[in-house]
Symmetry: C2
Subunit: 474 residues, 2 copies
């Protein structure tokens, strides 16, 4: 009998190994020193291992933890102040973001990360500037992080319509140094539990010189580039105005796309452009709910996949999503693509579950350590409670209905247990490594201040939400 830290016994396990979902019945896992030691039939598991902690998950389903490929967690403090609006950035976000202190942002990150974890996310894919607070929280509560640090040359100021962003070398270097600083502090700490990526904001915000430098530095550090790509007409205007060419052909010309490039959104990339990016073995992160709400667009994930590319899912941000719940992203990805192609067979449940787990791990370059249930990988696992109306009844014959119900019916609160690198983060739906009430109280305090201070600019801009307030529609 070998001693291990945890044994989990299940009736239903989805490993996400292989081409499908890797279903196993009456199997269990042995977890030791953070990793999956064995995946075996329950009878053999009992014969070979004894554990400090034994979890009988017979009324639950064991899955790899969800991976969120792209988030701006710091926007958690601004949840719900920008949607149903055409100019999301200037008329929605701007007056609130202008008043958001770094402390408020950190508080928002804690809220967003806690929310995601309670919904079953074990890898937080954060992106942005001033991101040390988020990294601290990720490290402290024990989840996995794939964090990209924003690099940009374009000065932060209000630009006139059609005006090209002003690139400033000093500003660019400052953001690059922040990235390098975060990289040296957090990359690969806790046995590789946090990965730091280079995050040039987009080809329109970063100079050619800096982009080349970022490419070189990221390669030297054996990490990846995580970058917004072909986000919309504003980006296209900047690119054609500055270089006379759209983002993707321009970046391809300078050799930017390769297996270490993660492109975010591709909101309005043309079909041939999507094929270029996928063809270079770069990956794509799709934020279905956010882009649906903010732009009314279904991004070209299917084209990317059909061209052989890997696509993962992300929840983007809490103003204009407005949640961090990968189950919601799976559902929206499935339904929005069915509608886009007017074909109910497009993006079936099993496929979007892969995009939330193993495919997302591949997209982010962490599939050797997480994303599926396999001996030697870290024990990033969730247990989903079957005693829930949304998942009942359970059919195992002639077909298993669990995955369709997880994708199309589950709400997130069915997630009972969350384990990351063998550490139990959530148990019986309650967080073990953070205090939800403290997070809620703290973020409310920051929101009260932001709301007060944002009022003048909000009323001056007089966007759709200001109109709705006057009409008693909010």
């Amino acid at each position: 009998m070998e001693k291990v830290d945890i044994i989990i016994k299940t009736k239903h396990m989805y490993t996400l190994e292989g081409e499908g979902v890797g279903y196993l019945s009456d199997y269990g896992v042995a977890i030791d020193r953070g990793k999956i030691k064995a995946v075996l039939p329950v009878s053999e598991l009992k014969k070979n291992y004894e554990a400090e902690k034994f979890i009988d998950a017979s009324d639950k389903v064991l899955l790899p933890g969800f991976i969120d490929g792209h988030m701006h967690t710091g926007h958690g403090v601004l949840r719900g102040v920008a949607q149903d609006i055409s100019n999301w950035m200037m008329e929605g976000m701007a007056p609130f973001e202008a008043q958001r202190s770094i402390e408020a942002k950190d508080s928002g990150s804690r809220l967003a990360i806690a929310e995601a974890v309670l919904n079953g996310t074990t890898t937080i894919g954060d992106d942005g500037s001033d991101i040390a607070g988020s990294c601290d929280f990720i490290q402290k509560i024990g989840v996995r992080g794939n964090v990209s640090v924003r690099i940009r040359d374009a000065l932060m100021k209000t630009y006139k319509a059609g005006e090209l962003y002003i690139f400033d070398d000093n500003y660019g270097e400052k953001t690059l140094n922040e990235c390098l600083d975060i990289f040296s502090k957090y990359h690969d700490i806790d046995s590789g539990r946090i990965k730091i990526r280079f995050g040039p904001q987009g080809p329109d915000f970063v100079s050619l010189k800096m982009l080349k430098k970022v490419k070189k530095l990221s390669k030297e550090r054996n990490t990846k580039i995580h970058m917004h790509l072909q986000q919309g007409s504003r980006e296209t205007k900047q690119m054609t105005g500055r270089y006379g060419v759209r983002s993707i052909p321009w970046l391809d010309e300078i050799g930017y796309f390769d297996e270490d490039f993660i492109g975010i959104h591709l909101t309005d990339a043309l079909e041939e452009e999507v094929k270029i990016v996928a063809g270079r073995k770069a990956s794509m992160i799709l934020c279905s709910s956010s882009i649906g709400i903010i732009d009314g667009i279904v991004p070209p994930a299917k084209i990317f996949q059909d061209a052989g590319g890997i696509v993962g899912l992300g929840s983007d941000q809490a103003l204009g999503n407005n949640c961090h719940n990968i189950i919601n992203e799976m559902k929206l990805t499935a339904i929005l693509n069915k509608v886009k192609y007017e074909d109910p067979e497009v993006m079936p449940a099993w496929k979007v579950l892969r995009m939330a787990t193993i495919e997302n791990a591949k997209a982010l370059g962490i599939d050797k350590i997480t994303g599926s249930i396999k001996e030697g990988k870290y024990a990033d696992l969730i247990l989903v409670d079957l005693n829930q109306a949304s998942l009942a009844p359970l059919y195992t014959k002639p077909m298993r209905n669990f995955i369709p119900n997880l994708v199309y019916s589950a709400r997130g609160n069915e997630v009972d247990t969350v384990i990351v690198a063998g550490k139990i983060i959530v148990e019986n739906k309650a967080p073990k490594t953070f205090d939800m009430n403290e997070i809620l109280q703290e973020v409310q305090g920051h929101a009260d201040v932001i709301g007060e201070r944002a009022t003048a600019q909000f009323n001056e801009i007089n966007g759709k939400n200001a109109v709705y307030m006057r009409e008693n529609k909010l």
Copy 2:
């Protein structure tokens, strides 16, 4: 001091009265003998009323209960066995439905209704045949019902492609008599808590003679007709094959559309057809999630509204939705329409909230008794818990973010209290009038039998889900 049954004190109340959402701050309601006795500022409420039960809902939001305009609750027992499939009815549902006993159907109804209620639905809009079990449960647990009973002449059998349905007068009369029987047993019982509607299945399933009879009988009984309308190409083929004309012009010709007609889906109605129905003051029920999953289509609700028609929301059924959660319907309705029109301002949060409450009450003809918080209406109310990551933080200034977060972020489990006609059905998220575990156990038993018996036909049909089972994708 006047004595009442319940007083609820809130900081945030949305009455849904007026053109918007009727927000009131620091108000409360007095409830007596099932009805809303007063809606007053908290200070005045305290001065004038004392109550048996006092609910301090300062950390919750008070709203009218949600209304689900169209459900097939009996399909609850088949949740998740038909989606991601082109021929939903024949390749998805058929092998399972063939094995569904009336007892299994009733068990499914209890599951679906319980699920809906826990997600904040106070009016269950059930539709179908063999519906007495559903009516019984609605009556027993104390929720509101708007139930339509299926009438059809078309014999239940497998038809060849292109074959016209065989109308059988005896069969038609039998279904009509069932409807009349249910009507006499349940209509307006418990002070009008249950309404029974006439439910001809669709213009393709019912003879002209029967449609005319239904119209006459429903008028005599002062109730409404609830009918599937322009559901898809199968319906169109039947109508053009039989009458040489599409459903809507044909029904308009016989004067079928008026303020007592509720049209369901209008999945592929043409723009001019939609305008005909709306122009006759008939109403429409939109099932965004179901039609998105089953057909990959966004129904023409916006055209219906723009033509002056009333649109309410429905969750349809648990195979091919797969849930009964009006919050999910609000979200999908908002996002799918933004994508359809590529315009983020289409179907804002406040509008879909109206479609789930007061507009749905109007669509179903029950707005005099429910759908908003108003003196004299029944106390059909919900309290939504603000101490939830998905709804945090709360902004009240310069804009209120609660409704956008309810629509785009809430999952359903934020619903804390459900009151129907002054009776508390759910409190502290726990049901008071039904036993969830009993419902879950019972429905599982039926599913086990159905699954076993459906296996041969499932494998013979060999639809997409059978293929996915072999490929280990389920």
